[in-house]
């Protein structure tokens, strides 16, 4: 690992995030807290927005005004 580790492609990163979101929704749907699903969906949309905005340098400072 003395050289930089290979980075996943952008598509791979997005697919991984979608996989995580899907796993989270599935876990909540299966468990005793299905009422959390709508809230989590809203939060995930906000989360996706945050991840996107963080990657856009000139917007990043404003995230801290929202959160």
């Amino acid at each position: 690992m003395s050289s930089e580790p290979p980075k996943p492609s952008r598509l791979e990163s997005i697919l991984m995030r979608l996989g995580t979101a899907g796993a989270l929704l599935a876990m909540l749907g299966r468990g005793s807290r299905p009422w959390m699903l709508p809230l989590v969906l809203v939060l995930l949309v906000i989360g996706a927005g945050m991840v996107f905005l963080q990657s856009v340098q000139y917007v990043a400072p404003f995230i801290y005004m929202v959160f």
Binding site: M1, S2, S3, E4, P5, P6, K7, P8, E12, S13, M16, R17, G19, T20, A23, L24, M27, L28, G31, R33, M36, L39, V40, L43, L44, I46, G47, M50, V51, Q54, I63, F67
Partner: protein, 589 residues
């Protein structure tokens, strides 16, 4: 093809990486030892890189990377707690969501990006399963009950397992927000110490007090007939407040909290009677929470014994670092033998995650062995000599073992305080003679010398001794704690002889937290202890971790030299080199 497993703990505190190949632990280290940030929680990229370098591997060789807990389950807990405690959680909710939605929820992405492994090779253990595995698969028993107690993992705060040839079987758990660790941490904050750091200080302060607040604490932390316990949540706010762990009701019950940094007047003859009374109240509070924790743990393990039907017990989780409680468990508990994972905190979770994947999932055969915590970086002695010469530190090479040990013993006997950097660094919070500060424990002013020159430790906390195994009678280790001797994970009564001869390593209540050193485990360190014994009759040394206040343990020789330059240590032994204090110009004079 060998099976390469990397265990990783991170993103809360004490990040660490552990590398196993075909079921053998090759290397394990905490990120803080590389980044030099105490309790560094960031992904342990440097620690992992060192582990791979040690094995001559690269990221592409990792067959499985196992994260020590399940972030999604943790997120579920945080979310549902926030909803259940709304509107009180309104303050902490945005903060939590920012941390989770922006970062922690996407741990798989972060692991893949940081470590360069394929996404399909990343797996997740459970927080308590990782702790349980770190205790059982490092322990000396074929089969055992395993108790994990910490602040909180995903949901579990205390969990019971049965370990055996079939793996680790969960037997029961107590769930958030009811937590032994978090009650102790709330009281740590109440007593003005930093949570996750000051718990040792509460344990040390407890010896100065009497548990006269026990009844009050019994009301806020009740033991249940099923072997569990429940907190009265009106008194605690760890589950909804962003920074404060207790409510005004706890203040009404126990009186005003101790302000951080308040002086400890019980050791100050010039202090006023009022100041002494206030310090006594603080010590009584510490004694009360310590006594509550011990009784709660005893209650839990008595049920664990019945439930598991096992004779021996392994312990892990941050609560298992409470060496005083471990003594009560050994002395009064029902188990024949105890083993405590020395890296019982979350750093040990990295090791446990790798062990669970290797033995629990892959079903690899496993047999008990004697655990060695020296799994970290070793010293490149050739490079050390060059470095010392470059920096202009006075240095003496002592390639002959006898000469080295004679010289070190002579230094110690003349009252010097030494750094002792030998072999591989220890995993976990205890320095066990590999990254230690040593002093002759005899004499009334030893603790003061070590404290004022190097450690700046609170005066109410004791130092601990390393003792050559053949002089184990210097301490009264209960038979059930025999397996804990090498690791400083149990406090026990000191013998009269140790108490009289070496007060610096005996606490005010006559207890001590020993490391028993055998020639087989550590011949060089044992040789030094033996020489001390030949000269003084006492084969013992004061042993404290080699770090300055607020810094992590030293890892490399460079860290040791940097520390030597910034404190009043007399010399540091790095491998076979005796490095003396640098001349003033090296110090920038």
């Amino acid at each position: 093809m060998p099976q390469v497993t990397l265990g990783v703990s991170a993103l809360y505190h004490d990040a660490a990486a552990a590398l196993m190949i075909d079921g053998q632990v090759i290397a394990a280290a905490q990120e803080e030892r590389f980044s030099r940030l105490k309790h560094d929680p960031s992904l342990p990229v440097r620690a992992a890189q060192w582990c791979l370098d040690e094995a001559g591997l690269s990221a592409q060789d990792i067959d499985q990377l196992i994260f020590y807990e399940k972030p999604l389950r943790k997120f579920e807990r945080i979310l549902s707690t926030s909803i259940a405690t709304f509107p009180r959680s309104a303050l902490s909710f945005p903060r939590q969501m920012k941390a989770w939605l922006g970062d922690k929820l996407w741990t798989r992405n972060r692991l893949v990006e940081a470590f360069g492994v394929r996404p399909e090779r990343v797996g997740f253990s459970d927080h308590h399963r990782s702790h349980a595995a770190s205790a059982f698969y490092s322990g000396p028993f074929e089969r055992a009950a395993v108790l994990v107690a910490d602040g909180v993992g995903e949901w579990a705060t205390t969990s019971l397992w049965r370990g055996g040839p079939a793996g680790l079987e969960p037997l029961g758990e107590v769930r958030w927000p009811h937590s032994l660790g978090l009650l102790y941490s709330a009281m740590t904050a109440f007593l003005g110490f930093a949570v996750n750091e000051g718990e040792y200080k509460v344990m040390g302060m407890a010896a100065w007090g009497t548990p006269r607040y026990r009844e009050a604490l019994d009301r806020v932390g009740r033991l249940l007939p099923d072997g569990g316990f429940a907190l009265d949540l009106d008194h605690f706010s760890h589950h909804w407040h962003p920074t404060r762990a207790y409510t005004d009701r706890l203040v009404a019950l126990l009186g005003p909290p101790r302000p951080p940094g308040a002086p400890f007047a019980l050791l100050d003859p010039s202090a006023s009677a009022a100041a002494r009374a206030e310090s006594q109240r603080h010590a009584d509070l510490a004694a009360s929470v310590q006594s509550w924790l011990e009784d709660a743990l005893l209650h839990v393990i008595r049920h664990a014994h019945q439930r598991s039907g096992e004779a021996n017990l392994c312990l892990a989780g941050g609560v298992a670092l409470n060496a005083v409680a471990n003594h009560r468990l050994a002395l009064e508990g029902p188990f024949a033998q105890l083993f405590v994972q020395p890296a019982a905190g979350d750093a040990g979770g990295a090791l446990g995650a790798a062990q669970w994947a290797s033995f629990g999932v892959a079903g690899r055969p496993w047999s008990p062995s004697r655990f060695r915590p020296d799994l970290g970086p070793s010293l490149d002695e050739g490079r050390v000599a060059d470095l010392v010469a470059d920096l202009g530190f006075p240095c003496e090479a002592l390639p002959h073992e006898d000469a080295l040990l004679d010289r070190a013993a002579q230094d110690l006997l003349s009252g010097q305080v030494l750094g002792w950097v030998q072999g591989r660094a220890e995993l976990g919070p205890r320095a066990l003679g590999h990254r230690s500060i040593l002093a002759d424990p005899r004499g009334p002013d030893t603790a003061l010398r070590v404290n004022t020159r190097v450690k700046l430790r609170e005066p109410f906390r004791p130092f601990a001794p390393s003792i050559a195994e053949e002089q184990a009678a210097l301490v009264q280790l209960p038979p059930a704690a025999a397996a804990l001797g090498p690791y400083m994970t149990v406090a026990c009564p000191a013998s009269d002889r140790l108490r009289e001869a070496a007060p610096a390593v005996v606490h005010v209540n006559g207890s001590t937290r020993p490391q028993l050193v055998s020639a087989a485990d550590d011949p060089r360190y044992h040789g030094l202890l033996r020489r001390m014994g030949e000269a003084t009759g006492l084969s013992a040394l004061l042993n404290t971790s080699f770090n300055l206040k607020g810094e992590p343990l030293v890892g490399s020789a460079t860290d040791a030299l940097a520390t030597l330059a910034r404190c009043e240590l007399d010399a540091v032994y790095i491998g076979p080199l005796r490095v003396g204090r640098p001349p003033a110009r090296v110090l920038g004079g």
